[in-house]
Symmetry: C2
Subunit: 341 residues, 2 copies
DNA sequence: CATTATTCTGGTAACGGTTCCATCCTAGAA
DNA sequence: TTCTAGGATGGAACCGTTACCAGAATAATG
């Protein structure tokens, strides 16, 4: 006998009706708080519900009502500490409002992402919150347009989508970070991050470039590696940059994964942060403040992002128009930006 | 006009039947792969499905079949990097097998956890994978017994539950870690971790104690702080221990949160790891290998845990009896255990 | 007291599928 | 040729709800 066989038959509204000696429609009315229910009826039904331990089947209710109170949440990788914080805050806020979160990793693949979207549609989720792998895939765009459900994008820009979005103002933070390095006398500032087919990269790049041009300097294009958010990409390109001679005197990494890869490369080459090279990370790893030396960073409030995403979703579910919400970034100088020159 | 109004009416099996000019039962048979379907019928149905862009409603299928292909996943905190790795591996494996994951944080609260379990039951999930907040809550036990669904526990021991479990062999790793410190000459080894009402703590504690008693030493009970997995708890107690005189010469922290709190305390007190104090963390933070100095740790494969949890769940869903799976731990000495004496 | 408005209640039709059952064909066996 | 087995199909019941509609009971009105 497997554990599945144990399932005693489910208690349905019919059983309750029988036990209370009333029509099943009356039970439904009582339970959904319809006004036309006599105290006597309420009494009988509640007694029966209590006695049988009845609980309404959300599946059946969903089929009937056309709303599941389920929200799909698609991200590249839940193990990314930043996304994990976003997901947690988002789940908490959704849960407080009676919604559940169906979590799907897209594993950095447009194909998986697309499959996930289609599966969520078949599951009749009420809405989707997603951090897309890329903005330039026509296939994904087509899939999204066919979703026909409220959508909240995380740090992505896509036209004609009728979607809400939580957008980070990367520009400000990265501008400040780069300007800080320049003010310290750095010019050969490497920048290792993801590809330009996502808003995140483009906005950061804008800040990076502006910091140079605003001070009348040339942007050191040769020290830019814009290709992937994964640690492997950052590892290879950081290693490459730092083996050259002359090499960059400072390094900025964009994103959690890039930072991990770059730190590994620095470690491997025996270069000490804040001494042999100045280092700034965009987005914080949880223990950055106790790292030795403490790492300068461009911070954004991931918790706020998740909460805001849930909030925008709930608004759309209440019939409001899609809208955008902006998250600030803040540069904090710590001792990892000390040396390098 | 809100985005919800856009929803053009759903294409159902009825529309397909009408378009193909056949009975709706025939459409169903064709789509579910029933053997008694003529090539002509298949042709007609497939043409209609294609033309209308029909996709079966998983909700309706679930209601009929009694199986949702949804698995509930309950953990204390998805932002815990270890749990995030577990969750990712688990979701990937479930997804490969056609299941989706409903994620719920219990936020360290037995009450929330219990509510989550009940909600998952109402959502008619096919099974639940959970890392429970505590093993000694009769209320939770009662709730779980009423689940009537396959259950996989993560690192927890509960009797008479008919559940599968992924169990970590903490004993070995912690024993080795403690023995290593003892062999270096440490006796005043502090141990800061969660409460004993979860298997995790008990098994670690067993290893810690055995390392002392096996060498005929007294267990330094006064340096044990077993109360909470949260960083705050570890911060306070580490601070407290290390302000004493004499103070511990070594410190072991059990769990991701404890490690974070302890590192903050050390930082705050200006104590340098691997010099002023020997330090070992149980469970690794993602960047431990590039931390300066690198941190000695008791490692376990979180990815394997998640995959194994999914595997055990799938087995139960296929009618197999509940079973247990054991995950190994491995102590690795790095330079954080150098000094202290 | 008769009549009209209000509660209140029960029956039934959806929601979108699957599956059983009965019927009609067609082909193979006697 | 006649009988039968089984393939192919349509119709209807069912999964567990909610919502509409009609009728019964009660209350309010003239």
């Amino acid at each position: 006998m497997s554990s599945r066989d144990i399932e005693g038959e489910q208690v349905t509204i019919r059983h309750v009706a029988a036990r209370a000696g009333v029509a099943l429609s009356s039970v439904s009315r009582t339970l959904t708080g319809h006004p036309d229910v006599s105290p006597a009826m309420r009494q009988k039904v509640e007694e029966a519900v209590q006695a049988l331990g009845y609980e309404p089947d959300l599946l059946a209710q969903s089929l009937r009502s056309g709303t599941t109170r389920n929200i799909g949440f698609i991200i590249r990788d839940i193990a990314n500490p930043l996304f994990a914080l976003v997901a947690r805050a988002c789940e908490q806020e959704l849960r407080r409002n009676g919604y559940s979160m169906i979590l799907m990793n897209s594993d950095g693949s447009v194909e998986t992402e697309s499959k996930n979207l289609l599966l969520l549609r078949r599951r009749r989720v009420d809405g989707v919150i997603a951090s897309l792998v890329a903005e330039d895939s026509p296939y994904i765009k087509k899939t999204i347009l066919s979703l026909r459900r409220p959508l909240v994008l995380l740090d992505r820009e896509m036209k004609d989508l009728n979607a809400s979005a939580v957008i980070t103002d990367h520009y400000t933070g990265v501008y400040e970070a780069t300007a800080h390095l320049i003010s310290l006398g750095h010019q050969e500032i490497a920048f290792v991050t993801g590809a330009e087919n996502v808003y995140t990269t483009r906005d950061r790049l804008r800040g990076y470039k502006a910091a140079f041009s605003d001070t009348g300097r040339d942007v050191p294009e040769k020290w830019m590696a814009l290709g992937g958010f994964d640690a492997e990409y950052a590892l290879i390109h950081t290693r490459n940059f730092l083996s050259k001679s002359p090499r960059p005197t400072a390094l900025i990494t964009g994103g959690i994964g890039s930072t991990a890869g770059a730190l590994r490369a620095l470690n491997e080459l025996g270069l000490q942060i804040g001494k042999d090279i100045a280092f700034i990370a965009i987005d914080e790893w949880p223990l950055f403040d106790v790292f030795m030396p403490p790492i300068s960073s461009v911070y954004r409030d991931a918790k706020a992002m998740g909460g805001e995403a849930a909030h925008l979703m709930l608004e759309m579910l209440n019939g409001k128009e899609p809208s955008e919400s902006v998250i600030e970034t803040k540069f904090t100088a710590r001792s990892s930006t000390d040396g390098g020159l």
